[in-house]
Symmetry: D2
Subunit: 296 residues, 4 copies
Amino acid sequence: MSERIGFIGLGNMGQAMAGGLLKAAYTLTVYNRTTSKAEALTAKGAQLAHQPSEAVRTGGIVVSMVANDQALEDIVMSQGFLERLGQNGIHLSMSTVSPFTARKLAELHAQHGSIYLAAPVFGRPDAAAAQKLWICLAGPQAGKERVRPVLEAMGQGIFDFGDDPGAANIVKLCGNFLIVSAMEAMAEALTLAEKSGLDRSAVLDMLAQTMFAAPIYQNYGKMIAEKRHTPVGFQQKLGLKDINLVREAAEYATMPMPLVSLMHDRLIAGVAKGRGEMDWSALSLDVLENAGLELP
Amino acid sequence: MSERIGFIGLGNMGQAMAGGLLKAAYTLTVYNRTTSKAEALTAKGAQLAHQPSEAVRTGGIVVSMVANDQALEDIVMSQGFLERLGQNGIHLSMSTVSPFTARKLAELHAQHGSIYLAAPVFGRPDAAAAQKLWICLAGPQAGKERVRPVLEAMGQGIFDFGDDPGAANIVKLCGNFLIVSAMEAMAEALTLAEKSGLDRSAVLDMLAQTMFAAPIYQNYGKMIAEKRHTPVGFQQKLGLKDINLVREAAEYATMPMPLVSLMHDRLIAGVAKGRGEMDWSALSLDVLENAGLELP
Amino acid sequence: MSERIGFIGLGNMGQAMAGGLLKAAYTLTVYNRTTSKAEALTAKGAQLAHQPSEAVRTGGIVVSMVANDQALEDIVMSQGFLERLGQNGIHLSMSTVSPFTARKLAELHAQHGSIYLAAPVFGRPDAAAAQKLWICLAGPQAGKERVRPVLEAMGQGIFDFGDDPGAANIVKLCGNFLIVSAMEAMAEALTLAEKSGLDRSAVLDMLAQTMFAAPIYQNYGKMIAEKRHTPVGFQQKLGLKDINLVREAAEYATMPMPLVSLMHDRLIAGVAKGRGEMDWSALSLDVLENAGLELP
Amino acid sequence: MSERIGFIGLGNMGQAMAGGLLKAAYTLTVYNRTTSKAEALTAKGAQLAHQPSEAVRTGGIVVSMVANDQALEDIVMSQGFLERLGQNGIHLSMSTVSPFTARKLAELHAQHGSIYLAAPVFGRPDAAAAQKLWICLAGPQAGKERVRPVLEAMGQGIFDFGDDPGAANIVKLCGNFLIVSAMEAMAEALTLAEKSGLDRSAVLDMLAQTMFAAPIYQNYGKMIAEKRHTPVGFQQKLGLKDINLVREAAEYATMPMPLVSLMHDRLIAGVAKGRGEMDWSALSLDVLENAGLELP
């Protein structure tokens, strides 16, 4: 019979990822602060935990997928969590958090004899449901080998960045920064095209079929070309949170990142104008406004 | 027997493109200011013209591929060029120039009864040699139909942007802006990775195999990851020239393009520091310097 | 009896400056494209010219104060202007124009035996009326000595920047760039203060009475603190024009000026949003908007 | 006989300020982590404390002037400090710290029955020695009245920003941001002047005698014009610290501050290049480098 593992954090991403584990025949104990979000999974056989530590088995594997650093720290520090995970337990931490949080928590787990693995992912909820995430992995070697089948049940590719758990988070932050930069470039270019009398979609189509034939340009490009920013895959305020994590990492590394600064200012303007809960591709609306165009 | 067409401008790109026309069995008359660059083509049967107008036949097609707006204007204004091209002649202008130059020259040709078609291309010399360029086309419909087989002998895809010849140039400028922005994002991200203790190439490989699996990220990304900026595909000073064309278009369209401003400042810093003739991916060296890292 | 001099360009600044010359007992022949603007001066004894060359006397002094490079070139190239100014005539050019225009026109005058002096000014119309402008002067030494009394009738201080007429224009452009930068800094700081619960004017008053006790901070600061951008002393679109002249000079000097880029993008956003004819201190409104605040 | 007050933090600023209090006939008990820095003051009659709480008298006034938020928190949390300050004691906190730290500490003092007053200052050590600082004051009204004579012994002007202790810190941060922005504008402008063939000092002199006749432009301007960045009045790395406090305040206020972003990137580049302990006016060296000029 298959291994029982814990899964903490059942937002849009977490639910889809846990669903992938069920499909792969894992037995799950799931926890979410708001219990109702567990229903779809318990209906498929997952067991419900009423506090984080109930999802943990000593020497077992517990996966977490939560909104931010604070939520992750709250779980790790919750009563009984670290004690119960105990000797040889593995915490597979898949949230996008700061590399500094990852390193601090890794040390804390080590003090309790358990292993913290950083495994942040790229992909939206539909990719998670299709078990097609891209996963960045970092932490102690022994732990990484043991969780490989678990990760394979969630992703289509696993990239190992060595022992430092912070490394996987750095890669994740770099990736999000590249995405948001590509969106800015498209937003400015397509608005120039529009104000020069061209059709936004025609320009995007050409570029995204040729030199930029990659999902980021095709999918986000389409939203930006069409000025249509629903459904919300990833909120602009979460994009700002991630850019702030990049700023924190750049500060620690002592280097200027002017494009990061620009993206920060773009995203926070959107949040200031009340668009924080729109999809982050809606940063394009700020480009339109500054060009004197009507918003859709 | 095949049509005889003229080809003006035999730099790295022009030579490769003219070679493609010879392969497609076109008969060529070629012109270049420095005659020696025509040798490879005359050895394959092209006829040599000693001034631009000699490459032109009345009612025929003449292709041009030169370095900048001034060079293009010099050809068009050279003695006998417009007069000889005459009624129903087509000038297929494939250089990257300003949309304003394109519109001005289109009007001038029209006054002489000929057609100016804008057909700027994406692709490096090796893509040109392989007849795999991406071509943006704009201008009068009748002309576009007639040149289609000529373009098909040079490119793998032709994208029509309507009647306004300036439109094709806008798309070309947008594309170059997207490329340079992607290079900046990669340069900042990989330098953050390096200063955070990660391996530049490992990070690039992950991103360029997954969400950013497109040639721009793979090819330029490799140069930036490895800090190796040879061979020179496109000089940094030409990148600056193109960004200045984008600035000019944005000014005319009355809109801010802050990422364009950032890229301008990055490229001109490289030129100021003596790197204008390096490949434009060498903008990454400025990122390294500002992060306090040694240059390779 | 006093010398008769010509005065071309009777906008707000020109009228006030010409008024100063009348007060200093100069005899004036004035020209303006729109004749009605000359009325106040002709009422005080100035003679009206019906074309630029009528304001010119051979070997005499003609002052010009016009809106931009094109207007200045139009005057210089107008029929009879250079011919009539002739041997030893002096054109005292006080408009804010490009250093490149200044150098080009200086050469043109020299070819006709006359002298072009660049003498751009700092100060608003009220300072001009009070004969309290600050004047930057550059050009041939002999000419500068002869015009000194004329300049003293308009300004409270004359600063000599040598023989190169372009030099005075560079200084003028540097000054305008410093002004607009100070306005941006104040706009951002006071908006931070407001969003942090402080009173904008209290913060401005403290700073402008102490470390920044200079007219720029006091006068523009008051407009920005109070969000009151009338009367219009200098239009935002003219500020954009001047920043573009700085960009042109920086391009020629081959150097990045990131704060110039930022100010360009700020000003053109204001123009794009329809505020081009407001006072340039209204760049502050863009700061408010991006902070999510209501405009006054 | 005069009141005995405590003074904690004897860096360059603290020593000069404490010296002013001695001149004003206050009796002092001074504390500094490195005892040797107290010698000049004990030689003039100040009593030496061996830990922060020894400088505190119940119901008395204790002044602090330390390097950063952490140092200030360490003092407040040091053994016996808050307990000893007790009922009606006043902590006059003059360091440049975050408004959030100020608010947090104010609450902590209130819980112990004492008063925390924020009173950050503008001015270099020589201004402090001359009792000519500019002081921003905020906190409970009763406390402010009681400390007024103490502040008058240190400053030439006191500006009251109300009850919120964070308010005084916001003003201080705004002021430092305005200073650094003015330095950037001068650095860019004077480098443009230099590369355009003008003399840096001639340009600075003109501007700083006229529209920008304020100490910031005159003093820092001279350093920037002459490329001479000694003596070190305020280190570049401390400038970066303060800009990061501005970034923190802007994040909390939810607004973009693009000029703050630019200054952050400028200052951190200087620190990355090893110039963190130079005077912050040395940000100008980064402007020179990016313009391709040799450093002095």
